[in-house]
């Protein structure tokens, strides 16, 4: 496992209602964001944590070969962050998505419009919806 600079407890995809597993952000990626001055991406790590605290849905697979064991965690954090000190309401009709590799490494995070038909599912997600908070 590569070194993580921060880690979170997330619902386990194997047993979302009863078990958790550790997920985290690689220090190497964090340092890229820090060095390049990507304030919004860094500050949104707060949204990442909130998404794991209040997960709305888990999607298995990233919709491409060899990524069936990856997951997408979906949330709706109460705020968006432009920097660590600037917070705004979340984008309208959007969900926060966190992409997680099979070893628990968090690979990417961002807002994405939600589907109109399924409240907890982002647009253009091609994996399998394996869990929702209302199930």
């Amino acid at each position: 496992m590569l070194r993580w600079i921060c880690e979170f407890d997330a619902r386990s995809p194997r047993d979302p209602d009863h078990a958790t597993w550790k997920v985290g952000i690689q220090e190497r990626y964090f340092r890229v964001l820090q060095r390049q001055g990507h304030l919004a991406a860094l500050a949104r790590i707060i949204c990442v944590g909130q998404t794991f605290e209040s997960t709305l849905a888990i999607i298995q697979g990233w919709g491409r070969p060899d990524k069936e064991d990856c997951h997408v965690y979906v949330g709706r954090p109460p705020a968006d962050f432009r920097s660590a000190t600037i917070q705004l309401p979340p984008p309208r009709d959007q969900l926060f998505v966190v992409f997680v590799l099979p070893d628990g490494t968090i690979d990417h995070w961002n807002w994405r419009p939600r589907q109109t038909a399924q409240e907890f599912v982002p647009e253009d997600m091609k994996g399998d919806l394996i869990w929702t908070s209302t199930a």
Binding site: L2, I5, C6, E7, F8, Y29, F30, V32, L33, Q34, R35, Q36, G37, H38, L39, A40, A41, L42, A43, I45, I46, V48, G49, Q50, E53, W62, G63, R64, D66, K67, C70, D80, F81, R82, A84, P91, Q94, V97, F99, L101, D103, T105, D107, H108, N110, W111, R112, P113, E123, D124, K126
Partner: protein, 128 residues
């Protein structure tokens, strides 16, 4: 780590004051993430291989994520002159043009290739 812990992490590790364009290759995800601007953004899928990052306030394209990048990168050095092991990022964008349907998609890729060229962005080999 709880939210207070994240906030403390951000305070202890302040970001550079000025945004600089970058690309980040994730071998584990087989994906390349590129940002030209640091605006707060959201994602929108362009094709199965390319997701665009659009500024929340203006919907301007500020970056993208290219998936399934490994096969492209493996092939490129066979056709390009590669300096110091780095690949011109604009060429990576142009190599995807044929996989994009529609004029809008092609225009978007062209714009990203131009942006990569104007910022002289290159893709460096990933250290093991």
């Amino acid at each position: 780590m709880d939210i207070d812990g994240v906030a403390q992490l951000l305070r202890d590790n302040p970001a550079a004051e000025e945004f600089r364009p970058y690309c980040h290759l994730s071998p584990e995800a087989d994906a390349l993430t590129v940002y030209f601007k640091g605006d707060a953004d959201f994602s929108k899928r362009l094709t199965d291989s390319i997701t665009l990052f659009l500024a929340i306030d203006t919907h301007e394209v500020v970056g993208c994520r290219i998936k399934g990048i490994r096969s492209i990168l493996d092939d490129l050095p066979n056709f390009l002159r590669v300096q110091h092991g780095a690949i011109d990022l604009s060429v990576v964008f142009l190599s995807f043009r044929s996989a994009v349907d529609g004029e809008e998609g092609r225009r978007t890729l062209n714009a990203m290739a131009r942006a990569a060229q104007s910022h002289q962005m290159t893709l460096e080999p990933v250290e093991a």
